[in-house]
């Protein structure tokens, strides 16, 4: 494999083809925060906390470090004022959903993010997709998936499959950056309700209307 020279935060780095900026940075001890990235899973690029600035033909550009492939002569900056500001806002936005996540709180400390800046929407999930992707790609069970889109996007278990598979697996729980609690809670909700009644709408899935705890409460 061919070698690729690039520069990260002023350091000359030798990487190999196929590596991402994240990989290359790690190899020289520069850490870039990640939330949705997982080595065993397909590239995703959802949380954008790994955003870094690169210079492409003299133009600065924001890219996701966890998926952007290294290029010859690339100039990467992982802690510019702009990058830090963006990470701070993203953390504040995510903290509105998961104010007690230890992982988010630690990052918030580093970036000076205010946990209470935005009105709370405690849905706990920050849509990193780790549970969904892990179940699909590694376990090949597809017991959990996304539903809806935009700001209504949520995760939801398929009760029939979850009832069969999840109790003995639960491997996705520790992956969840907002603590496994949420996933467990949703799962429990889905399992406790018999599948036929889980959904008022009739699709039989456990999507929002049937089982998401915050919706049941309200």
């Amino acid at each position: 494999m061919s070698e690729i020279n690039l520069q990260i935060d002023g350091k000359e780095v030798v990487a190999t083809e196929g590596m991402t900026i994240l990989d290359a940075a790690k190899s020289v001890g520069i850490s870039i925060p990640t939330l949705c990235h997982h080595e065993k899973l397909e590239p995703y690029g959802g949380c954008r906390i790994c955003t870094v600035e690169v210079e492409v033909r003299g133009w600065p550009k924001l890219v996701a470090g966890c998926i952007y492939p290294v290029e010859k002569g690339l100039v990467v900056r992982t802690r510019t004022e702009k990058v830090d500001k963006i990470r701070k806002v993203l953390l504040e936005e995510m903290l509105a959903h998961a104010p007690d996540s230890e992982e988010l709180k630690a990052l918030a400390q580093e970036y000076g993010a205010d946990r209470d800046r935005f009105e709370k929407h405690p849905s706990f999930c920050i849509h990193c997709g780790l549970c969904v992707r892990y179940c699909a790609e590694i376990k090949k069970k597809n017991a959990v998936g996304f539903v809806d889109r935009g700001s209504n996007r949520e995760i939801s278990f398929i009760p029939e499959i979850a009832a069969k598979e999840c109790w003995d697996c639960k491997e996705c729980f520790p992956l969840c950056p907002t603590s496994a609690l949420q996933a467990a809670y949703v799962l429990a909700g889905a399992l406790m309700t018999p599948p036929e009644e889980a959904h008022s709408g009739g699709c039989g899935c456990s999507c929002s209307c049937g089982s998401a705890p915050e919706k049941q409460a309200g």
Partner: protein, 635 residues
């Protein structure tokens, strides 16, 4: 129908079709585009059939349903040939008169002609109407000449001759060269040079490649792609096959939104017809080149217009964008090289091949060649589709073609580029419209939506409108877009509700910056409507926040309706029509609006006779106290 298996056979078939056309034979063309159908074109066509039958003229007069010529607001549009008379807003009741007068006696029905609102003079032909006269209709003009369901009509005007030329007289490289020379830039969004994508795909080693038509037309307020694919589906298909030949693709997709049922129907029909005659399928025109194409209906998702999301949708998945650090031209549908272009981009291709790159570059500016179709809508006198050379100024489009703002109102802004674009103010109206100039002004070309706004439009509300639109249309995969939009909407909603706070504008700007980290262009460009309105209309934001006033008198929660006691003549119109029963009436008593009950529907303002003009909309000031009971009597 036999397949045509050589260019000679094609020309024979064409000659045959043309020879059967009698140019002197009367023909009634009725626009059968979605707009005119909505205004009753189907009933008009049926009425013509009955009426001609009644007069025993069925064989002597042709009738056809054509594509949209763009003046939809004045539809149904009827053209009478050979004279080329253009009748507007035709109703079934007008049909007997048209047949007896125009068809039989060759007389013109004056009242159905276009009337110049200023001078009152009437225009006989399309070309005499200012709306059309100031356009350069290279592409759109074909629509009205064609029965949109007839391939023979397309062949009669030279259809598929560009394909034949390409297959037999040009190498793929030569085709690429011609497109490169024409500098055709994508009409669907970013204005990316078409040849670059084509070349990148062609050079990709993977032998399986795709070419795709983007007919998702998600920009709400744009409908040029609908008009093209509905009215002239073969031209899109021909362009696509030429592209496939240049790129070396043998399979194609046409992604059409299901909200356009007629477009879906017509393009499917066109593909069937083209397959029967050998323009699609194996060994096209005997050239040895194979190409098949499939129609994929979009199921209602704006984000699926974005290239990587569209490709994900083609694979049968939820249309989420993918990171494009490797271009889709190299790694697209099922990871194969895929060239995606917009409907209008493809529609230009046969013309460039037939007439040459030099002809094409004779229109437009150096950086943005050719013509562009805009959908000119909103608060404008002549709404419809407008095709002009790139580089024409916004002012010319709005005043010369569009006929200015109706109702004596004042122009405020024009929004271009849809949810990714921005609002351009009066001071910038002399901007030449091309890809680069619009971007510099903080907006973008987008697909060509042009929404004109007048003094009654609130710019903060427009920003809120687009963000609200995107809240449901973002795919929700990445944080900056999903959450950034959610928070922006919260801020804009509170500003338009009169609850804005100092620092809100800065907060919007900060959120906008964070959205630069979004995964796809939807999220990255989502702040544009907000940033451009802040840039040009900051005072409106400030009025909302500081003075709790909506200067356009539009934000419902910041306005009140009030009856001026000095002007009210107690006619009772408002009292009778107020749906909320919020008005205290009474014979010869000054009418009073009960602010508690008023739902701010605005009916009273609409119905108060203009000679009284007693109802006022107010904002940012207290509602005057109601007239005391004993002072209500009108002398």
């Amino acid at each position: 129908m036999t397949r045509l298996n050589s260019p000679e056979k094609l020309e024979c078939a064409r000659k045959d079709i043309v020879s059967r056309i009698d140019p002197t034979k009367p023909c009634i063309s009725v626009c059968a585009g979605a707009g005119c159908l909505a205004s009753g074109a189907a009933e008009v066509i049926a009425a013509f059939k009955t009426e001609l039958d009644f007069h025993g003229l069925t064989t002597e007069v042709n009738t056809k349903g054509t594509g949209c010529p763009g003046f939809c607001e004045r539809g149904p549009i009827v053209m009478i040939y050979p004279e080329g008379i253009c009748y507007l807003k035709v109703k079934p009741e007008d049909v007997p008169e048209i047949v007896s007068h125009t068809i039989k006696e060759k007389k013109v029905v004056d009242r159905l002609l276009y009337e110049d609102p200023a001078t009152g003079t009437r225009a006989l032909r399309e070309s005499d109407i200012p709306f059309y006269k100031n356009q350069q209709r290279n592409i759109l003009s074909e629509n009205i000449r064609l029965d949109s369901k007839s391939m023979d009509d397309y062949l009669a005007i030279g259809g598929y001759s560009a394909l034949s030329k390409v297959l037999f007289q040009m190498t793929p490289e030569e085709v690429m060269g011609e497109i490169k020379k024409s500098n055709l830039r994508g009409r669907g969004g970013g204005g990316f040079p078409a040849w670059r994508k084509w070349e990148e795909s062609r050079n990709a080693p993977d032998p399986i490649k795709y070419v795709i038509v983007n007919a998702d037309e998600g920009d709400p307020g744009a409908f040029m792609d609908r008009a093209l694919i509905e009215g002239n589906p073969h031209s899109i298909l021909e362009g696509l096959i030429i592209g496939a030949y240049a790129v070396g693709a043998h399979e194609g997709f046409i992604y059409v939104r299901q909200e356009y049922p007629l477009a879906v129907e017509n393009i499917n029909l066109a593909i069937r017809q083209a397959s029967e005659r050998g323009f699609v399928g194996k060994d096209i025109l005997g050239s040895g080149f194979d190409f098949t194409v499939k129609v994929h209906m979009g199921a209602g998702a704006f984000v699926c217009g974005e290239s990587s999301a569209l490709m994900t949708a083609l694979e049968g998945r939820a249309g989420e964008p993918r990171p494009k650090y490797i271009h889709t031209a190299v790694k697209g549908v099922w990871d194969h090289p895929s060239v995606l272009n917009n409907v209008e981009t493809w529609a230009n291709v046969p013309q460039i091949i037939n007439k040459g790159a030099d002809w094409f570059t004779s229109f437009g500016t150096a950086g943005s060649t050719g013509t562009k179709i805009f959908s000119l809508v909103g608060k404008i006198t002549n709404t419809g589709l407008v095709e002009v050379p790139m580089g024409v100024t916004l002012r010319d489009i709005i005043t010369k073609v569009g006929g200015g703002i109706p109702g004596g109102k004042k122009f405020k802004a024009v929004q271009t580029g849809g949810p990714s674009g921005g609002c351009i103010p009066e001071a910038q109206l002399d901007l030449p419209v091309d890809f680069d100039e619009l971007t510099k002004a903080g907006s973008m070309m987008g697909s060509g939506g042009m929404i004109v706004m007048d003094e009654d439009t609130c710019m903060v509300d427009i920003a809120r409108y687009f963000i609200d639109f995107l809240k449901d249309e973002s795919c929700g995969k990445c944080t900056p877009c999903r959450e950034g939009i959610r928070q922006m909407l919260a801020v804009l909603t509170r500003i338009t509700a009169g609850k804005g706070k100092e620092g809100d504008i800065e907060l919007l700007e900060e959120l906008a910056e964070s959205m630069g980290a979004a995964l796809c262009a939807l999220g990255k460009s989502a702040p544009n409507p907000v940033l451009s309105t802040i840039r040009y209309f900051r005072d409106e934001y400030e009025a909302h926040i500081r003075d709790k006033k909506c200067p356009a008198l539009s934000c419902k929660e910041m306005i009140a309706f009030h009856i001026d006691p000095a002007k009210c003549k107690a006619c009772g119109s408002c009292f009778r029509q107020c749906p909320a029963e919020a008005i205290h009436g009474g014979k010869k008593l000054i009418h009073i609006i009960d602010q508690e009950k008023c739902t701010k529907c605005g009916t009273c303002l609409d119905v108060c006779p203009s000679r009284f003009g007693a109802v006022r909309k107010i904002s940012g000031e207290p509602v005057p106290a109601p007239v005391p009971e004993d002072k209500r009597a009108i002398a």
